[in-house]
């Protein structure tokens, strides 16, 4: 706490304590109103209002008499309930003085200290704010490092920022500095290794491998380290090792996390690579005549899909979009497959259909326009043109 802050707090406490002491020594006057008399007076007012209602003809005499009696009964009940206690004593014993005069500052300062540490100040990185520009980040972090030259977290962030700015050499130098300060930080080791690999056009150097191994020695279940180690294994064509490492990483990741989903996709991809499976695509250029375009609305739907040349007519892969969003070409791939267990790449001979529909319904409607291609083979990655005219 700075001296000026202490002075201000002292002033606030002095004013507060003085206020309490003042009103202890010069108590506010009682307004002299008594509850019983208040109720009696209100009873009188109600009777006066009742008389007024009778005079205006709002009630008759019988009702007036009954209501008057009720007012009296209510008042009697209220007076019966009243417990009159008087508080005449105005002396304050010395212990109360002591408690009040000491309690206020002690309690206030204690609470300030407790609440200030209880709600810790947050690091900027944890705040959900729009990120500073990278250049701004670099400036701010460098300023921070002047006073805190051994802040490893800040050095790591600086290293990443330099890399994003394309200043690879500075990035590596910064990471090296952080590494020298904290060679046992597994997250730092992985980041440093990852940067070295990226700087070397995705090639794993000896230094990067050493760093990954160090990270795994310190934290054998680190998902990041395991992932990077798996990538290294893949680069060395050791798919079995890669699968083992990535499955281990999968066990360390929480259910539903995005990283977990990404890793599952990578493992699927690895499976396909191992089995020799490759993604196939079909490129479809759809040409729509001017007459049709004029007759149709921009909100009409264009559906382009692939179905088996022989067998079930249901689409294998499909894209559906509004005419206004169509730029002339559609590429269908495994990503557009209707069923994940029957990918486009797993098929051979297919037909390609382009349908223009007002409703976008899966079922063909009366005024839909459709064109079907000849048989094409998926494995050829064909490019075809369909004319809607």
């Amino acid at each position: 706490m700075s001296i000026s802050m202490v002075m201000w707090f002292g002033l606030m406490l002095t004013v507060s304590t003085a206020w309490v002491v003042w009103y202890l020594k010069r108590p506010l006057n009682d307004n002299g109103l008594d509850l019983q008399h208040s109720n009696i007076e209100l009873g009188r007012q109600k009777k006066a209002e009742l008389q007024n209602d009778l005079d205006q003809g709002l009630i008759d005499k019988e009702q007036f008499d009954q209501a008057q009696e009720e007012i009296s009964n209510t008042l009697a009940l209220e007076l019966e309930q009243a417990n009159i206690t008087t508080a005449n004593d105005t002396r304050i014993s010395s212990w109360i003085w002591l408690v009040i005069v000491l309690l206020l500052p002690v309690l206030s300062i204690y609470m300030y200290q407790q609440l200030t540490t209880f709600s810790p100040v947050s690091k900027a990185a944890k705040i959900d704010l729009p990120p500073l520009s990278l250049e701004q980040s670099v400036v701010k972090i460098k300023q921070h490092l002047i006073d805190n030259p051994e802040d490893v977290e800040a050095l790591a962030v600086l290293g990443m920022s330099y890399y994003e700015l394309g200043q690879t050499k500075k990035s590596l130098q910064t990471y090296e500095k952080a590494y020298q300060l904290d060679p046992k930080n597994p997250r730092l080791l992985v980041e440093y290794a990852s940067t070295i690999v990226s700087a070397n056009k995705d090639q794993f150097t000896d230094q990067s491998v050493v760093l990954i191994k160090q990270a795994l020695e310190i934290e054998p279940n680190s998902p990041d380290a395991l992932y990077l180690a798996g990538m290294f294994a893949v680069s060395a064509q050791d798919f079995v090792l890669a699968k083992g490492l990535w499955n281990k990483a999968l066990n360390a990741l929480p259910e539903g996390s995005q990283d977990r989903q990404a890793l599952i996709s990578i493992l699927d991809e690895l499976k396909r690579v191992e089995s020799g499976q490759v993604d196939h695509t079909i490129t479809i250029n759809v040409s729509i005549s001017n007459e049709i375009l004029a007759a149709r609305s921009a909100d009409d739907y264009l559906m382009v899909y692939v179905k088996a040349a022989k067998g079930r007519p249901m689409p294998i892969a499909i894209q559906k979009l509004k005419l206004k969003d169509f730029n002339g070409q559609i590429v269908l791939s495994d990503m557009n497959s209707v069923m994940p267990t029957k990918l486009l790449s797993q098929h051979g001979d297919v037909l390609v259909v382009a349908r223009l529909s007002k409703t976008g319904s899966a079922m063909s409607q009366k005024d839909d326009l459709q064109v079907v291609s000849g048989v094409v083979s998926v494995t050829d990655n064909p490019e075809i043109t369909l004319n809607l005219n």
Binding site: F9, S16, E70, I96, S108, S122, K324
Partner: protein, 638 residues
């Protein structure tokens, strides 16, 4: 450093709230007047430090002090100054600080303007208010500190939600909080009476004006919120049965029942159980509304916080307040006995029906709001309860309440007769006649016709009551005028809501330049869209000319904005009038120079808010009736 002073001031406010409770309580136990009378000075000091704290936080916004996490999360340098100031209550922590400040403000008002309440009663009330303040200040300081600092200060803050960058935000939350928090006053009156074991005429008489003022603010705040949502959200709606809207509506329904119940209790000494329970319920629903919004259970435009720790704190506070109040009620229930009977046809029975229906309506809203949350929390799936449920359940309950509102003012206290009442309500035939006329010349929509009938009947009856009273009395009390105004306000609201809902038109249209479109006799000509850039946003502005009978009546400019942080916003263009609104929202760019626009025709929509204003005004007038201003001729105790 100023921020730390603000933080310390908030802590001092809590300490004084503690002193406001502890010292007078000690004085009551020991019979020491010097300690008892400290309730008021301790309260005043609590208010002072809260004011300092609030002013410092507002200053932090104005000077762009992004070292404060709350400021950095809700403001940036491009924000216009007026919105920097109102951003103080634009999110969780600041709005809670406003809550605490307003509670202290209300308490100060009670302490100053209650010269006719015996100090013994007043001190108890202030102790109860102090307890509530302690709860909220602890909540603020422990879970929602607005003065939390950032280690690394960002150069730029995030932006205030564009939906809240509007003049509506400047007024709506403070007004709503005045109502919400104001319900703590009748609650404190009731609780102090229960604690003292004295449920007498004094607390009944003096709690009513405070209840009326709180109810007026709540009505005004809700009306303002509805108006703001209408023109700001770009959907043309005025009420969405949003959970947070419902959270303010439920205490309003209960407060409406309370002001009526208080009149019975004050005049006739009856309905004390109702009055006590309604006062407890009203404030409890305010706290519940706070819990619903702050805990993160809901997601809507109002939900600022998403921290379960906060929800747990409020839930605990809620249980303590409601549970404690009900225990006190159960303990003191025998004291509320009354031998004052009334006939089935009497003003009391009319107001009893009113209470029952309003509480039933509240429960219908309560169920619709909380049932989805309950199902979700039990893992039984997610359901959505919206307008169809509320329209089907709430509206049929309110119709008999409106009818009762017409008849009850004519009834006598205690006992009346059909032979006297029936001729007085004969203007129902005028209402029926109006209905037939409307069916020929205006519409055949049965809901609108029914609303026209009710409107005519209510207005005619209210005016006839006024005329009768003037003939008999020559002068009118503010309470009576307030009642008439509020009832007419209900009628105005009812007609506006029904007509706009039933006869309003909404069309999504593709508009091409200079190609007119006609809706309900209005011709719309789209003139194109221009790009623009403003202080903290850029976007597109449409130009639409509106003609009626070939006369140009409006040039409307709906906008689509993109704020600097990427948040998109629609600013509707409105041509307002008392008979109808023309409302246009800009859609998407289409091929060529065409754009999609949404055009609304909204007949009598402004009557909705006019009705709300009349109700608020009526309540305020009633609060200043001579009964509450007359000097009590009391004998000072010797």
């Amino acid at each position: 450093m100023l921020i730390e002073i603000g933080h310390f001031a908030l802590i001092l406010a809590l300490v004084f709230a503690l002193l406001q409770v502890v010292l007078p309580t000690l004085g009551l136990i020991k019979g020491n007047f010097a300690l008892i009378q400290l309730s008021r000075p301790m309260l005043w000091m609590q208010f002072f430090w809260l004011l300092v704290s609030f002013a410092i936080l507002m200053n932090a916004f104005v000077i762009d002090d992004f070292s404060v996490k709350y400021v950095a999360s809700n403001s940036n340098t491009d924000l216009p100054s007026i919105f920097k100031m109102s951003a103080v209550w634009g999110a969780h922590e600041g709005s809670l600080l406003l809550w605490a400040l307003i509670l202290a403000g209300w308490s100060v008002a009670v302490s100053i303007f209650s010269k006719r309440i015996p100090n013994g009663v007043l001190n108890h009330i202030l102790i109860v208010l102090g307890l509530i303040s302690i709860g909220f200040l602890l909540f603020l300081l422990i879970t929602s500190n607005p003065f939390e600092r950032l280690d690394i200060v960002p150069l730029q803050g995030r932006e205030l939600n564009p939906l809240l960058q509007d003049v509506g935000l400047i007024i709506h939350p403070p007004m709503l909080y005045m109502g919400y928090v104001g319900l703590a006053i009748p609650f404190a009156f009731v609780l102090s009476s229960l604690i003292r074991g004295q449920l007498d005429s004094t607390w009944l008489r003096w709690s009513r004006p405070w209840t009326l003022i709180a109810w007026a603010f709540l009505t005004f705040g809700i009306t303002l919120g509805s108006w703001w949502a209408y023109y700001e959200l770009g959907w043309g709606g005025w009420w969405f049965w949003d959970p947070v809207e419902n959270a303010s509506f439920m205490p309003w329904l209960v407060a409406t029942a309370l002001v009526h119940s208080l009149s019975v209790s004050e005049k006739r000494g009856a309905f004390k159980h109702w009055t006590v329970l309604l006062a407890i319920s009203g404030f409890s629903l305010s706290l519940l509304g706070t819990f619903l919004v702050r805990s993160g259970i809901l997601t809507s435009v109002h939900s600022f916080a998403a921290d379960p720790a906060r929800g747990v704190f409020i839930l605990g506070f809620l249980i303590l307040v409601i549970g404690g109040s009900l225990v006190l009620y159960a303990w003191r229930a025998p004291l509320m006995r009354s031998n004052n009977t009334f006939s089935w046809l009497s003003k009391e029975s009319g107001l009893l029906i009113n209470n029952i229906l309003l509480v039933a309506a509240m429960f219908s809203v309560f169920l619709g709001t909380l049932y989805p949350l309950l199902l979700d929390s039990l893992g039984l799936g997610k359901i959505s309860v919206g307008a169809p449920y509320f329209d089907a359940v709430f509206v049929p309950i309110m119709i008999p309440a409106v009818i009762a509102m017409v008849v009850a003012p004519f009834l006598r206290w205690k006992k009346d007769s059909l032979s006297r009442v029936i001729p007085l309500v004969k203007s129902i035939w005028l209402g029926v006649a109006t209905l037939f006329v409307a069916s020929f010349f205006i519409t055949d929509n049965k809901f609108v016709l029914f609303a026209v009938f009710l409107f005519t009947w209510i207005v005619l009856h209210s005016l006839s009551l006024l005329v009768n009273r003037m003939r008999q009395n020559g002068s009118l009390g503010l309470a009576f005028i307030g009642m008439i105004l509020a009832h007419i306000g209900i009628a105005v609201f009812l007609l506006g809501a029904t007509v706009t809902t039933q006869l309003g038109i909404e069309k999504d249209i593709k508009m091409e330049i200079d190609k007119p479109v006609t809706i309900e006799g209005y011709k719309f000509i789209f003139k194109g869209v221009d790009s623009f850039k403003h202080q903290n946003y850029q976007g597109h502005k449409g130009r639409v000319e509106v003609y009626y009978d070939d006369d140009l009546i409006a040039n409307l400019n709906p906008e689509k904005r993109q704020y600097v942080t990427g948040m998109p916003m629609t600013e509707a263009a409105i041509d307002p009038s008392l008979t109808r609104d023309i409302y246009i929202a800009l859609g998407e760019s289409l091929e060529g120079n065409a754009w999609s626009l949404r055009i609304y025709y909204k007949p009598l929509i402004r009557w909705i808010w006019l009705g709300g204003l009349l109700i608020s005004l009526g309540a305020l007038l009633a609060a200043f009736d001579r009964r509450y201003r007359a000097v009590q001729r009391l004998r000072v105790k010797s």
